[in-house]
Amino acid sequence: MRQVYGWLLLTPAAILLIAFTHYPTVATLWHSFFSQGTAMRPAAYVGLENYLYMLDDEIFWKVVRNNALYAAGTIPASIAIALLMAVWVNGKLPLRGLARMAYFTPTILPMIAVANIWLFFYTPEIGLLDQFMRLFGLPSHNWLGDPDTVLWCIVVLAIWKEAGFFMIFFLAALQSLPPELEEAGRLEGAGRWYYFRRVTFPLLMPTTLFVLINATINSFKLVDQLFILTKGGPDNASSLLLYYIYEVAFSFLDEAYAATLTVALLATLAIIAIGQFFIMDKRIHYR
């Protein structure tokens, strides 16, 4: 009887998890070994053929490279800015509440709305950025139309959107540090930077790890802005892995290949997350 109760209590959560997480994962893996079926020709088992195709796919490698640059651009910058903002608004400061709110605002805006705001910034000639450049006599530039700048435009937007969110975690962690520690540091003559480097930052490491993992996942997951700003263009210069998967699945209607790409994405994320935990865990002090 006790076992029945146990299973009954587990069932609601289990149904949700299996239906929306485990089954889709397994189904995706399964589909990636089959060809794309049509009305005339049902899907057939093709082994690793989809994967071999993926390795030969130039666009795949391009979006992987884009995604790596995007991650490298957004993750450290957004974490550093978040930490800086948190330290800043944790101190004594006039209108502190307003400053905290201002930093947090980008987080509560929907990504689609954010992208529309930034679309105006980046628009050639009439956009805010170009108007600003004109003040210094610089020529107009099609920021989103230039393959050399488009990815960085997306990166800046993502940093702006995410830093405020991560700031909240750092702010909470900073406020949980006992104030006597700082006083003890001041008595010993530790300067602000020295104290930050030797005490505050190490004590924030658990939060930093948490934020780092979230930032990493987001750098693969957050692609909404592409729909508004660039649609991955020009010439896939701003396309990211997840956006490419969406295109393959719903524009090119090649679900089997999309499943293959998804497996690649999941594997990448799993390896990164495991790596972060194992490497960082040894160097972190948990209270």
């Binding site: 008595l187 003559g189 530790a190 190490p202 004590l203």
Partner: protein, 364 residues
């Protein structure tokens, strides 16, 4: 030149006056306790000396130099915090030498000092542990070691023993006092525990509502309390404070005919320490014994005279038969008189002339 000198130091937060015009000077090498109930401003005073709190008015001088506006690190003092304030991610060694590293003391000197201090406080075996792996007493020692390794002549302590259990507290009390004397440190020690103050201090500064209520050696506070407030704070159990009324031949306790002291009664309070009262069969204040509290070496007996309870310390074990009628007597010089309205000391009750003149910290 004094090690520390406070001159009219005041701290105000908006409407609240935390410390109000406090002045005192501390001799180098002495152990001074700031004593008082919570909220009396003792910790704030200490933090102003440390420079962790800004001074609203007045001056703080350390070793003769005006330090009122100097940052904490420039004041050449160490501090032990109530919560110890150890860095949880650093091991004992790193915690102790944190300040030396900040000040770039070269490593040979650093190691030598670390060895000396660790041995002094008995931490040599534990240098690689983290604070979380230590007991309360060991953490306390780390905090002490961090304070003394700087070799500053002044050490401030903010209720350093309040997180320890009673037995350990006693041991640490002895240890801190011994350390202070061996190193010749000037210590300002904040506590609300009168036992700590009495047993450790060269001098007690008793604060009340941000003002100094009395400033003197422990035995002065014990034998010549400046007010009922001091009388009720010093001693365990504290001094009996008995309301007296006018009687035909002198002051009496209302409802009891016996004259307890000469002179008028109304508007005065009689103070007698429980250890100075004797239970006798012969002459004295008639009272009924109502309770006893056996402490081992002695017993605290509660006697009721009129409507007032009087505590009496009796050596050994004393059983009380409820309602047992006895007489209480005390030497004349053990009775203190206070003004009932202001609480200030008036003098000994009917004192021998010699006591008034020779008594230190003359009465009002």
């Amino acid at each position: 030149m004094h090690a520390i000198e406070l001159d009219g130091v005041t701290k105000r937060w908006d409407a609240t006056m935390a410390v109000d015009d406090v002045s005192f000077a501390v001799e180098a090498g002495s152990f001074v306790v700031l004593l008082g109930p919570s909220g009396c401003g003792k910790s704030t005073t200490l933090r102003m000396i440390a420079g962790l709190e800004e001074v609203t008015a007045g001056r703080v001088r350390i070793n003769g130099g005006d330090m009122t506006d100097e940052p904490p690190a420039r004041r050449n003092l160490s501090m032990v915090f109530q919560s110890y304030a150890l860095f949880p991610h650093l091991n004992v060694r790193e915690n102790i030498i944190f300040g030396l590293k900040v000040r770039r003391v070269e490593s040979g000197e650093r190691d030598a000092r670390l060895r000396r201090v660790a041995e002094l406080v008995g931490l040599d075996e534990l240098l690689d542990r983290r604070p979380a792996q230590l007991s309360g007493g060991q953490r306390q020692r780390v905090a002490l070691a961090r304070a003394i390794i700087a070799e500053n002549p002044i050490c401030l302590m903010d209720e350093p023993l309040s997180n320890l259990d009673a037995k350990l507290r006693h041991a640490m009390r002895v240890e801190i006092r011994e350390l202070q004397q061996r190193l010749g440190m000037t210590v300002i020690y904040v506590t609300h525990d009168q036992t700590e103050a009495m047993s450790m201090a060269d001098r007690i500064i008793l604060l009340r509502d941000g003002r100094i209520e009395q400033d003197g050696a422990p035995d002065e506070l014990y034998s010549l309390p400046a007010s009922t407030f001091v009388a009720s704070l010093i001693g365990a159990p504290p001094m009996n404070l008995i309301d007296v009324a006018d009687g035909a031949d002198g002051a009496v306790i209302e409802g009891v005919g016996h004259v307890v002291t000469g002179g008028a009664g109304a508007g005065r309070r009689l103070g007698i320490r429980p250890e100075h009262i004797e239970i006798s069969a012969g002459d004295g204040l008639p009272a009924a014994l109502i309770a006893s509290d056996y402490l081992g070496a002695d017993t605290i007996v509660t006697a009721r005279a009129g409507k007032q309870d009087v505590l009496v310390r009796v050596p050994g074990h004393r059983k009380v038969n409820n309602g047992e009628t006895v007489r209480l007597s005390w030497p004349r010089e053990s009775a203190h008189m206070f003004d009932a309205a202001t609480g200030r000391r008036i003098g000994y009750a009917d004192p021998p002339a010699a006591a008034i003149q020779s008594g230190p910290g003359a009465d009002e």
